[in-house]
């Protein structure tokens, strides 16, 4: 039942998923053991790329929302909605993996630390966006309201990034983007960079595929409406 275009998209998705699997293999068998934390630090290779993908999704959401506001088009809104869904998925994954990592290293699953709280806020904002989209009828009003919220969500990302320097937190300070260069071992750093790249690629594929579904649902609605009235 899939079209040749669908098959091409699925092939690309499978390829990106294989890249993610290769990265996970490298995370366990290429990256050396951490001197202080031991093996458990390998959660970082899932946690940090998920977090950066969630933040990149909010930047993409702001771009699509701005385009939607300018063009007043439903196609930009479809892309923005798919981005919000993928952003929520990766934010929840960041919170879950961070919590799992926190138990053996901090001795707690959760604490209302500034970094954790602002990331939790991002998940709430993404959920709010999806609720707003579902609650409003299709039309220019929904495009405008969702676009404004989509742009506002991005404002949380610099707060999340700076939270570890603005407030006293349990979360570690930046170790990649910092003055004086990264503090990590080059093998660990490269594994992490590759992980960020592969997860961002996979997320962009998910956004593309899901937005295609949203547009297809609109076409389906239009076709069934036409059939009912013919």
């Amino acid at each position: 039942m899939f079209t040749p275009e669908d098959r091409r998209e699925l092939f690309l998705g499978a390829l990106f998923l294989m890249l993610v699997a290769c990265h996970w293999f490298a995370a366990f068998f290429y990256a050396p053991v951490d001197e202080h934390q031991g093996e458990v630090y390998r959660i970082m290779f899932l946690h940090v790329p998920s977090a950066i993908t969630a933040f990149a999704s909010s930047a993409a959401l702001a771009v699509f929302s701005t385009l939607g506001l300018k063009q007043r088009s439903e196609s930009s809104l479809a892309l923005a909605k798919a981005t919000a869904e993928v952003g929520l998925l990766f934010t929840l994954l960041t919170l879950a993996t961070g919590s799992i990592w926190g138990r053996p290293t901090w001795g707690t699953w959760w604490t209302w630390d500034a970094r954790l709280t602002t990331t939790f806020l991002l998940a709430l904002l993404y959920s709010g966006y999806l609720l707003l989209y579902s609650a409003m009828p299709a039309g220019p009003g929904r495009v405008r309201a969702c676009a404004v919220l989509g742009i506002l969500i991005f404002a949380d990302v610099p707060i999340i990034y700076k939270s570890v320097t603005w407030w006293r937190t349990l979360h570690q300070p930046p170790s990649m983007l910092r003055a004086g260069g990264p503090t990590m071992d080059p093998e660990i750093l490269w594994t992490l960079v590759v992980g960020i790249a592969t997860l961002c690629l996979y997320a962009s594929w998910l956004i593309r595929f899901r937005s295609g579904n949203i547009r297809l649902a609109d076409n389906l609605e239009a076709a069934s409406f036409e059939q009912l009235h013919s």
């Binding site: 079209t3 699925l10 998923l17 093996e39 998920s50 993996t97 138990r103 998910l206 579904n213 297809l216």
Partner: protein, 59 residues
Amino acid sequence: MNPITGITTDPTPFLLLAYSLGAVALLGYAHWCLLQRRKMRQLLAAIQTSSSPSTATKR
């Protein structure tokens, strides 16, 4: 080892839990999108078939 408390914990369950959750999230969402696409293509094809003039003549 926990650098604060100095307590050594077995990392295996934590690693297993985190990566299993990651796999479920990445594959689960893609699988849901895939099923959705297939269902919509089927519905769209059914609508197009039922509204085409040749089908209407047959009926």
